[in-house]
Subunit: 62 residues, 2 copies
DNA sequence: CTTTTTTGTCAATTATATATGGCAAAAAAT
DNA sequence: ATTTTTTGCCATATATAATTGACAAAAAAG
């Protein structure tokens, strides 16, 4: 559903590296990428910033 | 910071009406509009849909 | 093939988003 | 000026996001 994994791989980052950059646990990134739950807005914004994109591009789809 | 209040008023909705449409308590809308906390992504998406806009427009700023 | 890295998932715990009820102040309506 | 509606805020309670540690499987590297 979301495009976090796609953008993360484009930046050459591992889940662990992305998690470190946005100050969450690696598991949190894994769960988000698999649409296993519902992250907070602030976390979404941080991820968008680190992946050089925006909320609509990462989470805008259905 | 965010533009929920602005878009809500444009649609002629009260906090209570918006809360009802997105299935949360009125207080939740009040807190979000005043940037008093950090809503979930799903709630942000529902609000965007009801207000006929998108994540970037509502929450994209800083 | 063997070793190392990366990822998915589980269980238990902690932090915090959201709910509920209520009250006062501001705004709008009469 | 008075009444009604709308909003901000304060408690307490509940649901769930996020943490931590650990293990196995898949993928990548050697």
């Amino acid at each position: 559903m979301n495009k976090v994994k796609s953008y993360r791989l484009n930046q050459g980052l591992t889940q662990t590296q992305l998690a470190y950059k946005v100050n969450v646990a690696r598991q949190t990134i894994s769960l988000i990428e698999n649409d296993k739950y519902n992250p907070s807005l602030n976390l979404c914004k941080q991820i968008a910033k680190v992946l050089h994109t925006d909320l609509n591009s990462l989470f805008g789809g259905n």
